[in-house]
Amino acid sequence: MSDASALSHEYQASANLADELNNAVIAIKKARLHQRSGLTRDQRLRLADTLGALRIRLSNEGTSTAAVVPQEVVDRLIGRHASKMAYFLEDLTAATQSLATASATVSDSVVSLLDELCDVADQTASSMFRRMRRR
């Protein structure tokens, strides 16, 4: 009933997203560095699904994926890319397609995009955590 419960929900959602993205990026970077396999097919598809959901939320088109993206993550990305959103959506589409294709190597641009999404999810989770404690 209090704001704390809503914040706890938002924190949990954004911390889970931040963890999911961060763990995926670590695995991808390690695979590229040590030339070994990174994410499994299922992990790639799940990551592609998350990016697809994010794209849908940013473009306000369609409602098809199962992943739920915290609103503050969406707001922060809009804040960062408002003036060049069309390009950012293109990058997201390309990254989603690349991850959904099991054989495709993960390019520098996809890693760089995932790193940015990690930053945004991390900032959201941290901000929620602090707001829960009213600091």
């Binding site: 009933m1 209090s2 704001d3 704390a4 419960s5 809503a6 914040l7 706890s8 929900h9 938002e10 924190y11 949990q12 959602a13 911390a15 931040a18 963890d19 961060n22 990026v25 670590i26 970077k29 390690k30 560095l33 939320r57 306000n60 409602t63 199962a66 739920v68 915290p70 609103q71 503050e72 969406v74 707001d75 790193d115 990690c118 930053d119 991390d122 989770a125 941290s126 955590f129």
Partner: protein, 369 residues
């Protein structure tokens, strides 16, 4: 980066060692043991994760610095959340908390809550609130002996359901909201609405997709599980705490909109008379406070959207296997509905009745005598 992060991670490892040790030492009553054990394991796994990062051969590489920093932050938040939440609660777990935890467990069984029941402690300074990741509900000290607000426990249980069953519960509701506002914005653009009015629609969509939809979903869970008692509890809370029942606040939907969605669910799960009774009382309260519905209210909270949310939520709850409230089953929800009936018909003698009922419930839950 590795140099800055390394001592911080050692500090964090020490923190988790402490938490693990404390959680291992605490002796709690049986109703809190599952929770203690669960949090103990979470602390142990987190400690292991810190060690893994410290021993990672790529730890000092600059390209991983930010990623390991993010890992550090999430784990630090976890350590703080365990310390301030379950460890604090479990190390001071009193008889009142045993009673509340058993009460919540019984309520969860009755409406087939699809998760491990959380523990509930009477040490909140923020009314009823939930820490989802810690499986913990906090309520104010006095609530353990006053049952008119207990329907709000079901709202808090709703937060766990919504967070852990997003694709079944939250996603379909968000889709309804998204569709509604996409159409509304298209229509407004086509009709040449002023830019500010269209921007307002975008703002409402943003607020709905943030905290509002979660609060509505939790209200719908509580109404589905308790029917009238949650509606009355909501009305009492509005009377006690509302400044403007129609106002738009970022973190919570307007009280009037929440009341309306509760009424929509009541219309689906109870007979019309019950719904009318609440509606009449709500109308009376609006008259007393002199609240008038502003024009923008229906733009933010369209009636059809609220009705469709209730219909979809009921469908999702049934898919999850939640059991709607049915009377005369000697359940906790029954007690709450009886309490509200008694309170409304005998407000002066209610305290005595309430005290007797709570004493009886303590015995029924195995804590009497």
């Amino acid at each position: 980066m590795g140099h800055v992060l390394e001592p911080l991670l050692h500090d964090l490892a020490e923190r988790f060692r402490f938490l693990e040790d404390e959680l291992g030492k605490i002796v709690v009553p049986p109703e809190a043991e599952t929770s203690r054990n669960r949090i103990h394991q979470i602390a142990a796994r987190a400690k292991q994760r810190v060690d893994e990062v410290l021993n990672d051969p790529d730890f000092a590489r600059p390209e991983f610095a930010k990623n390991f920093y993010h890992t550090y932050k999430r784990l630090s938040e976890l350590a703080q959340a365990i310390d301030e939440g379950p460890l604090f609660a479990l190390s001071r777990f009193r008889m009142e908390d045993r009673f509340l935890t058993r009460l919540v467990q019984a309520a969860c069984e009755e409406f087939r809550f699809p998760e491990e029941a959380p523990i509930c402690v009477a040490m909140s300074s923020q009314y009823y609130c939930t820490t989802i990741e810690m499986n913990l509900i906090l309520i104010p000290h006095g609530e353990a002996t006053h049952l008119l607000g207990w329907a709000d426990l079901y709202h808090e249980l709703g937060h766990f359901i919504v967070a852990r069953h997003e694709s079944t519960v939250l996603k379909p509701l968000m889709d309804l909201v998204g569709d509604h506002f996409a159409k509304a914005i298209d229509e407004a653009s086509r009709l040449g609405w002023p830019a500010a009015a269209i921007e307002e629609l975008r703002l409402y969509r943003q607020l709905w997709m943030g905290d509002w939809i979660v609060e509505f979903a939790c209200d719908l869970v509580a109404t589905f599980a308790t029917k009238l008692s949650f509606a009355w509890s909501n009305l009492r809370l509005c009377a006690r705490m509302s400044t403007d029942v129609f106002s738009v606040v970022k973190s919570h939907p307007a009280d009037a909109a929440r009341t309306e969605v509760i009424l929509q669910m009541l219309a689906l799960v109870s007979d019309g008379k019950e719904q009318e009774f609440v509606e009449d009382s709500w109308g009376e309260l609006l008259n007393i406070v002199g609240a008038v519905e502003p024009q923008a209210f229906r733009t933010a909270y369209p009636k059809a959207l609220l009705r469709n949310l209730a219909i979809q939520a009921k469908r999702s709850f049934e898919t999850l296997g939640l059991k709607p409230y049915t009377s005369n089953e000697d359940s906790i929800a029954d007690l709450l509905n009886e309490a509200w009936k008694h309170f409304q018909s005998h407000p002066k003698s209610f305290a005595q009745w309430e005290s007797t009922q709570i004493e009886g419930l303590r015995k029924k839950l195995g804590l009497g005598g």
